[in-house]
C-alpha cells in the first residue's frame, strides 16, 4: 500500500491511498484503502492515509478517527495519531500518515516498521523505515 497526504499553502488538506491488497488474497477482496473514512480521509482539519491490516483499519474507521478526536477531543495532530494507533486498532497492526490544516505533519504505527517520508515548508524533511 502507498499513500500521500498534503496540506497546501491555502491550508487545504487532501489524501490519497493506492494498493494491490494482500498477497494470496481471495479474488474480490476489498481492503481499507478505497474505503473513505477507513484507509483514506480528508476534511477541513486534516488529511490521513493508512496502511496495514485492512480488516483492522476498517473496523476502527482509522482515518476518520484521527479527524474526529481532533474535532471532538481537541487533540493536536500527533496526539490524535498516537491516540488512534494505541486505542483504536484492537489486535491489528497498522500505520498512518497525517497532515493538519495548520501545516503540521505526523505519523504513527504499531508494527515493526513503516516506509515513510515527510516534509514541511520550514525546511524539515525526514525519510525512515524502522521505529
Amino acid at each position: 500500500t502507498v499513500g500521500c497526504v498534503v496540506v497546501d499553502k491555502e491550508g487545504r488538506c487532501a489524501a490519497a491511498t493506492s494498493t494491490g491488497g494482500l498477497m494470496n488474497k481471495m479474488s474480490g477482496r476489498i481492503g481499507d484503502s478505497p474505503l473513505i473514512g477507513a484507509g483514506t480521509y480528508a476534511c477541513g482539519v486534516c488529511g490521513v492515509s493508512c496502511t496495514g491490516e485492512g480488516e483492522a483499519i476498517i473496523r476502527g474507521t482509522l482515518a476518520r478517527e484521527v479527524a474526529a478526536v481532533m474535532e471532538y477531543k481537541g487533540l493536536q495532530l500527533q496526539e490524535a495519531v498516537d491516540f488512534v494507533i494505541n486505542h483504536r486498532l484492537d489486535e491489528g497492526k497498522a500505520g498512518l500518515i497525517a497532515v493538519s490544516n495548520t501545516g503540521e505533519v505526523a505519523y504513527g504505527f504499531n508494527c515493526n516498521a513503516m516506509f515513510r517520508g515527510c516534509a514541511t515548508e520550514d525546511g524539515f524533511m525526514e525519510v525512515g523505515i524502522w521505529d
Partner: protein
C-alpha cells in the same frame, strides 16, 4: 495559517531482514516522491493535485505494493484499489477490483469529478476507465517476478502474507471456537471477530 506540509508512505510491516540495498532503494523512492511533491507545492499546486501526482509516481515504481508491483491474488493476478479525498469540500472518489488501469488513483479522482458516484468497482470501474480514456495495460504489466515468488511462499505457508507479525501469546483468547487453518497476517483468522 501554517505553511505547506506533505507525507508519503510505502506500507507498514517490513521484513526485519530486509537487505540494506532494498532499504536504500525504498528511501530513495520516498525521497524522490517527497521532492516531487515539494516542487509542486512551491509552484502553488493544490493539495489534491499533489497527492494524485505523488501516488501516481508510487504506483508506477514497482518497489511498493501498488500499481506495478502489486500483491497477487490467490490466482496469481492483480486486483488494485485506490481512493482520494479533497478536504476542502470533502469530495471523494474510490475504485476497487481494477485489473488493467495503469494508475488507479487517477481513476479514483475521475470517479470523484466525472461521475455521480463516489465508488466504482470491478467491471463498472473498468468500463468507466475506458469511457474516460485513461491508460490501460495488460494485467501482466503489474506482475513482478518477486511477487510471483512471494505468492508461492504464501501458498506454501497457507497464509495471507501481509507483514511480519510476531504473534503475541494468548491471542487465541480472542478467537471464537477451534483454530481454523486459514491464517490472516500470520495469525489464525479467528483472531478477527466475525464481521
Amino acid at each position: 495559517m501554517g505553511g505547506w506540509a506533505i507525507a508519503v508512505h510505502g506500507g507498514a510491516g517490513v521484513d526485519p531482514n530486509l537487505p540494506p540495498q532494498r532499504q536504500e532503494q525504498a528511501k530513495q523512492l520516498l525521497t524522490r516522491c517527497l521532492n516531487l511533491g515539494i516542487s509542486s507545492l512551491r509552484s502553488n499546486a493544490s493539495a489534491l493535485d499533489v497527492v494524485e501526482l505523488v501516488v501516481r509516481e508510487l504506483e508506477t515504481d514497482p518497489l511498493f505494493n501498488s500499481g506495478r508491483g502489486s500483491a497477487l491474488t490467490e490466482k496469481g493476478t492483480v486486483e488494485m484499489e485506490a481512493s482520494i479525498m479533497d478536504g476542502s469540500n470533502r469530495r471523494c472518489g474510490a475504485v476497487s477490483g481494477l485489473t488493467t488501469v495503469k494508475n488507479p488513483v487517477s481513476l479514483a479522482r475521475l470517479v470523484m469529478e466525472k461521475s455521480p458516484h463516489s465508488y466504482l468497482a470491478f467491471n463498472g470501474a473498468e468500463e468507466f476507465a475506458r469511457q474516460q480514456g485513461v491508460d490501460v495495460v495488460e494485467n501482466e504489466y503489474f506482475v513482478t517476478p518477486e511477487n510471483v515468488g512471494m505468492l508461492k511462499l504464501a501458498k506454501e505457508a497457507n497464509t495471507i502474507l501481509f507483514d511480519y507479525r510476531i504473534p503475541t501469546v494468548g491471542y487465541d483468547s480472542c478467537g471464537a471456537g477451534a483454530e481454523s487453518p486459514l491464517q490472516m497476517n500470520g495469525l489464525p483468522i479467528s483472531v478477527y471477530a466475525p464481521e
